[in-house]
Amino acid sequence: MKKVAVVMLAAFSMAVAAPAFAAEMTKEQKDQCLLASKGCAGEADSIQKKIKKLNAEIKKGGKVYSADEIKKLEDKLKEAEGILDNLLKGGS
C-alpha cells in the first residue's frame, strides 16, 4: 500500500507541478490566458487593456502562434472591440 501511496503522490505532484498562474510573458511565449482563457487567476482587464494585449499578441505573429491561433486571437480582438462599441454607442 505504501508503494501505492508513493506512486499516487508522485503522479499528483507531477500533475500540479506545471504552474497554473499567470506569469509575465516573454517575447517568445504564448499568453495562455488570452489564447485559451487558461491561467487567468485574479486577472481583470479593462476592455481597452484587453484590446491592447490582444493587439500585442497578434503582432508576435507566426513565430509564436500558429495560423489558427492568430485567427482565434483576431476573433477575440473583434469581440472585444464589439464590446467597447456596444458600451459607447447611443440608443436608449
Binding site: K3, V7, A15, N86, L87, L88, K89, G90, G91
Partner: protein, 468 residues
C-alpha cells in the same frame, strides 16, 4: 491481486494527470462598463429623449428660443458569464439620470416617480439593455435573447436592441446572418383585437449575407421583412426591403455604400383608422469614402432616402424604417441611425450623441416621410496619442416638400458645422467639448409663430467618458 493494485494505481494516476495536466478552461466573469457625464447648453437639446423627429415641431424652432442648460449622466454595467469560448451569457444594464431628476413616462406614470437624479436619489432607473445567450455549434453562432442588432444599411432601417433569435454562419469567405425578432407582442401590450398570445404582433425577419471577394473587398446582399400585424394604426403591413451593399479598400482609401429598395403592402382595415390599402415603393442610396491624410482621416459621405410627396394617395414612395410604435409602452425613441456623417443636430447619430436626451432635426431616417439627402464632409485628427479633434460640415435637404409653404420656401433644411475636441486623461477616461451650429435653410422659412423664421439651432456640451 498485485496486478489489480498496480492497475488501480496506474488508472488513478492516469486519471489524475489527465484532469490536472491540462487545466480546464477558466470560467470567466467579465465586467465592463461606461460612465458618461454631459453638461449641455442648447436651444435644441431640451432634456427630452431622441424622438422620432423634430422636423415639424415649431416649439423647438421658435423665433427666439431660450437656451436650455442641464446636466445628465449615463452609466452602463455589463456582466458576461463566460463558460468557454463557445458559451456565454451577456447581460447589459443602463442607468440614466438628469441632474435634479426627471419624471418621464418610463419611470412610471408621469409625476409618480423620477429617475435617480433628484434629492436623495432613490429613483428606480435600472434599465435592461441586453440579455442574451451566445453559443457556438460550429460553423454557426447562435444568439438568443435581447440583443443588439444593426442592419447592413449603416443603421438607416434598424439599429436597436431587440428580442431575437439570431444565427451567424461562416463558410469559407461567406457570412450569413439569419434572425427572427419580435419587436412587439400585441397581446402582451394589451392591445385590443388579438384573440390569443402570438395572434397580433410585429416581427422583423433578417437575412444578411456577406461575401469577402478578397482581404479588402466585401459584397453583401440583405433582405428584411417587417411584418407588422398589430391591431392599431400603422399595422397590417408587410414590408420587404432588399439591398446590395459593399465595402472595399484601395491603398489608403476606404469606400463603402449601398442601394436599397422597398416593396410591400398595407392591407385595408376599416376597423383601424388610417390602415387603408397602400403600396410601398421607398428606396435609399449611400456612398462614402475615407482616406488617411496627415495626422488623421478625411471623410465624405452622401445619403439619400426617398420621400413621399402625397401622403393621401395609395402609394408610399418614402423610405420606411422600423419605428417605435406609439402607445406600446416604449419611450418613443428612434430606432434608425446614420452615424458616418458625424452630425450632432441634423441627423440622429448614435456615436457622438450617446446619452438619454439627444434631439435631432431628422430623428428617423425617413424624415417623417419627406425623405432626406445629406451630404457631409469631415476630418478626424489624432494630434497626439492623447489629444484628438474632429470637425464636420453637413448639408441636408428634404427629398420631397419641406414644411414651409410660404413663397420662396425650398427643400433645403440647413447646414450643420460641428467640432469635437478631446483629451485622454487616462487610458479609460476621456474629456471632450462638443459644439454644433445649424444654419436653417429655406425649408423653415416662416414656420415660427407669426410667420417668422425660426432661430438657428445650436448645442454646446462638455463630456466626460469613462469606459472599462
Amino acid at each position: 491481486m498485485k496486478l489489480n493494485k498496480k492497475l488501480v494505481v496506474l488508472a488513478a494516476a492516469g486519471a489524475l494527470s489527465a484532469v490536472t495536466a491540462f487545466p480546464a478552461m477558466a470560467f470567466e466573469n467579465e465586467f465592463h462598463g461606461l460612465y458618461k457625464f454631459k453638461a449641455i447648453v442648447s436651444n435644441l437639446d431640451n432634456g427630452g429623449t431622441a424622438a422620432n423627429s423634430t422636423f415639424s415641431v415649431p416649439t423647438l424652432l421658435k423665433e427666439k428660443n431660450q437656451a436650455n442648460n442641464y446636466m445628465e449622466q449615463r452609466a452602463r454595467v455589463m456582466y458576461i458569464a463566460k463558460a468557454s469560448d463557445d458559451l456565454k451569457l451577456v447581460t447589459h444594464f443602463e442607468l440614466d439620470a438628469r441632474f435634479g431628476g426627471t419624471n418621464g413616462a418610463k419611470y412610471g406614470p408621469v409625476g409618480t416617480s423620477t429617475d435617480a437624479g433628484s434629492l436623495d436619489a432613490d429613483g428606480v432607473s435600472l434599465e435592461t439593455k441586453q440579455v442574451y445567450l451566445d453559443f457556438n455549434l460550429k460553423p454557426t453562432n447562435f444568439k438568443v435573447g435581447i440583443l443588439p442588432y444593426k442592419d447592413a444599411l449603416k443603421g438607416i432601417f434598424l439599429d436597436a436592441d431587440l428580442a431575437a433569435i439570431a444565427t451567424t454562419t461562416k463558410v469559407g469567405n461567406a457570412t450569413v446572418v439569419a434572425a427572427f425578432t419580435r419587436v412587439y407582442d400585441g397581446n402582451g401590450l394589451g392591445l385590443a383585437g388579438g384573440t390569443h398570445v402570438g395572434d397580433r404582433n410585429a416581427d422583423v425577419f433578417v437575412l444578411d449575407t456577406k461575401y469577402n471577394l478578397n482581404k479588402d473587398v466585401a459584397l453583401g446582399l440583405s433582405y428584411y421583412l417587417l411584418a407588422n400585424y398589430l391591431p392599431q394604426a400603422g399595422g397590417d403591413i408587410m414590408l420587404h426591403t432588399l439591398s446590395l451593399n459593399g465595402e472595399g479598400k484601395v491603398g489608403p482609401l476606404s469606400l463603402s455604400g449601398f442601394a436599397a429598395t422597398q416593396m410591400g403592402t398595407q392591407k385595408d382595415n376599416p376597423a383601424v383608422a388610417g390602415n387603408s390599402k397602400k403600396q410601398f415603393h421607398g428606396y435609399a442610396l449611400n456612398a462614402a469614402a475615407k482616406v488617411a491624410i496627415g495626422p488623421g482621416a478625411f471623410r465624405t459621405a452622401a445619403l439619400f432616402t426617398s420621400g413621399d410627396g402625397n401622403a393621401a394617395d395609395k402609394s408610399v414612395n418614402g423610405w420606411t424604417p422600423v419605428k417605435t410604435v406609439a402607445g406600446t409602452g416604449g419611450s418613443g425613441s428612434s430606432v434608425s441611425t446614420y452615424n458616418e456623417g458625424g452630425m450632432m443636430l441634423l441627423v440622429r447619430n448614435a456615436v457622438q450623441n450617446n446619452t438619454n436626451t439627444d434631439r435631432y432635426i431628422v430623428g428617423t431616417t425617413d424624415n417623417q416621410g419627406k425623405g432626406l439627402f445629406l451630404y457631409s464632409l469631415g476630418y478626424d485628427a489624432n494630434i497626439t496619442p492623447k489629444f484628438f479633434t474632429n470637425a464636420n460640415v453637413g448639408f441636408a435637404w428634404a427629398a420631397k416638400n419641406g414644411i414651409a409653404t410660404t413663397n420662396n420656401a425650398t427643400n433645403f433644411m440647413g447646414t450643420e458645422i460641428n467640432v469635437e475636441t478631446g483629451y485622454k486623461l487616462y487610458d479609460n477616461l476621456t474629456t471632450s467639448v462638443q459644439a454644433a451650429y445649424v444654419v436653417l435653410g429655406g425649408a423653415y422659412k416662416g414656420v415660427a409663430a407669426a410667420a417668422k423664421d425660426p432661430e438657428n439651432p445650436y448645442t454646446g456640451r462638455l463630456v466626460l467618458t469613462y469606459a472599462f
